[in-house]
Symmetry: C3
Subunit: 354 residues, 3 copies
Amino acid sequence: MIEQKSLTLNQICQLTKGRLSGDGETVINRTVRLDEAKPGDISFIAAPKYAKNLENCQATALIVYPEFNVPLTTNLIYVDDPFSSFFMVVQAMTPEMEPLQPGIHPTAIIGDGTTLGKNIAIGPYVIIGKNCKIADNVQIYSGTTILNHVDIGGNTRIYQNVSIREGCVIGERVILHAGAVIGADGFGFRNVNGKIQKIPQLGYVIIEDDVEIGANTCVDRAIFGATRIGKGSKLDNLIQVAHNVVIGENTVIAAQTGIAGSSQLGNGVVIAGQVGIADHIKIGDSAILAAQAGITKDVPPKIVVSGYPAREHFRAKREEAVIRKLPELAKLLSELKKKVAELESTTIKISSNF
Amino acid sequence: MIEQKSLTLNQICQLTKGRLSGDGETVINRTVRLDEAKPGDISFIAAPKYAKNLENCQATALIVYPEFNVPLTTNLIYVDDPFSSFFMVVQAMTPEMEPLQPGIHPTAIIGDGTTLGKNIAIGPYVIIGKNCKIADNVQIYSGTTILNHVDIGGNTRIYQNVSIREGCVIGERVILHAGAVIGADGFGFRNVNGKIQKIPQLGYVIIEDDVEIGANTCVDRAIFGATRIGKGSKLDNLIQVAHNVVIGENTVIAAQTGIAGSSQLGNGVVIAGQVGIADHIKIGDSAILAAQAGITKDVPPKIVVSGYPAREHFRAKREEAVIRKLPELAKLLSELKKKVAELESTTIKISSNF
Amino acid sequence: MIEQKSLTLNQICQLTKGRLSGDGETVINRTVRLDEAKPGDISFIAAPKYAKNLENCQATALIVYPEFNVPLTTNLIYVDDPFSSFFMVVQAMTPEMEPLQPGIHPTAIIGDGTTLGKNIAIGPYVIIGKNCKIADNVQIYSGTTILNHVDIGGNTRIYQNVSIREGCVIGERVILHAGAVIGADGFGFRNVNGKIQKIPQLGYVIIEDDVEIGANTCVDRAIFGATRIGKGSKLDNLIQVAHNVVIGENTVIAAQTGIAGSSQLGNGVVIAGQVGIADHIKIGDSAILAAQAGITKDVPPKIVVSGYPAREHFRAKREEAVIRKLPELAKLLSELKKKVAELESTTIKISSNF
């Protein structure tokens, strides 16, 4: 448990440039969600729609929007942007996470030919292979094992139990979250008379500067050349990036998405959770892929797609709207069929009468 | 390989209170599935529908339902509930997994200010940070690394290669399976002029008592306050729980489900595999979410939903039934169009005749 | 970074039995994708459709198909199968990954009663439990922890941070990629008066010869008996295999697929990414399951299925084609309804005239 630091409401008002209605000497110990608030806590109300059911609110103070006018005995701080102000308070009251102790822990094992920069922090029982290059200010937590010929750029942080395979290249200011696997063999086989034969995976992975890779996410090494994650891109947890995928810059990918072999994603692409992208697909710059979309063909730049198989989102919504009415439409169709049959028999009777 | 303990059929009958047809002195060495059974093995037949293709059954004994009447030379034990009785035999014949050796292994590294309860078992090369509290009877297996300020409740078991980040709080009798990641940064960014900027994730994770977290499952720390898994809830493998999610009590979630940021799940919710829940969604108590459902809006209590986008299951089934007939319905619609056109031309002709 | 070995074009021609148009003494340093090629690099053009936009190609040499006739000053090597020839060059120019140092690292901890074969390589800080059997030529990388009574067959390679639980049996020539979890408890509970009670998981996992298990993939132990992965089957990353699943031989499963409890897959099954298979399902030999399919009932041998709920692929495509036209069909239906109503009123008028 991390104890938060206490602040008085006067200090909080000063920090947020807010207007206090209440007692400035009151001490606040915790920043919490509104429904969790107990005496000693501060929370926030961002907009009128959240200003409900406040009778039982136990918070000692609330950061509220300028027009807030629910009659409460709670201390109130009026600000223009309650969430941003509240988050400033959270930052002020939350102690810095103690970073990894600087220095190389005596139990860390570092292979021959590996060079280490300045001000590095390597935790206990970390393993680094031979002929690696670890730049300045890198932090590597316990349980992480790095094989031979890996380069790691300056100011990169690698959390616990990360596995990095041979020859991968990690940029500067990268964050690899716990359990990530970088450079495992791509999934490449050929069927030789019904026996599945492994194709050697001879490439590597390049993770460019300012990339973040989520917990337990896997980025496979290329069959040859590089699987590449472009500068500034952010990947959430449990994502699969297959061999020879190329992801552009500043692309954001939510959890549990999978990208099959050799697909190429542009810059500024936004991908929601659990999306599947087939192999050899091209996704244009700034395209948006909705959650659970199944991408079976190329997506042009700036297009929003959804559904399985994925199609232009506005079109998909129209199709979905009809699907919602299908039982009624099927009934109508069946009624029309009957009526047309009646009409036909009547019409024919009439015609034959002439 | 774990060798099972042997029992005689007399011992098995005594255990299951079954009625033996056969030789009570016969020794049984293994409990297996019916299709795997070899001489020396016991298996079971739960109901008449499974009492097929028994000609080549090599099992030495079978536990069967009272009315079982297939003529076999195999030893038979008649019981009221064959599966439960068989599982009692499995439990009796399977040796206890040797638990982790009690004591702190000399290679474990434990930070300053960390307190340890009684009867703790900590495996080799385990790392525990500073200012943690480890309660009585906790077991922590090798490869697990725990950062600073983490609390772990009594009788909790943590398997291999688990990563727990700073400040997380784990309850009593919790089980964390191998590779789970608790408290990695939530996926929070803001787009500042096309550059993706990290929002610091200042919260933590609370895992309440009697929770089970599956292998390689990820529970992210909150942006502030807690991501919370309620008492008695059970999460399967490879699940993603994003920042600020709150899961109620006794909720059960199958593998590969993903829950996006700030969503709130009630008590007794049942979620099948590969479900995706969007952010800021509320799932009511005892709701049931079918496999692969894509939840895009709130789900009321006790409602069963399925499909993408998820909707009430009974309604979804009716829509699906029509989708199954769409090619035929489209053909019918096209025929009706032609017939109506013919009718119109005929009718007009008739009308013009008057 | 792994430096590739250099070859001259003469050496490359000899290797690929290609016909050179250019200077055989030219030295090549890297094998790359066409769009990455810089001076000193070789790439390839597999077919006329890829022979585009070559004006700015900086490659020093290209391996091309026999009829290639784009006028370029680049060195060219003509071969029958450019990809295969290029991959031969990649293999020749890529240095062998240095395997794990043979021998047992002095920091490895190996339990009592465990037997070790010849020529084993065990990395630093590896933990192996009691009464295990490790056969000849096994390689185990750092961070891997193996509990008691585990058997590992000859020539098997286990990468970093793998977790293997008690009593599992791993065959010969198996590859377990980093972060895989073998033998965690199956997800088995019963609801006892609203409290979720754990059912002990008393079985184990059998992984047969020549299987490959992807990074962070989970194979749960059986409730009793074995969860089994058949000989020669290949599983990609982040896959969930639940308790008591049986997978046949030479079955290939792409990333993020989930297989629920007790399902049985045949031989030669091909499963694309993110497929979900419900519990107690049977998948016939050589069936093909398309990406993201949701399998809710048995699939016969050799059948291709897709969609949710999965159905015969050709049928699903026909249904999808109609879904794509639903907004237009709904409009047509509404028009027909109006026309039929008009026809009915006309017809009735006529009829009443008689």
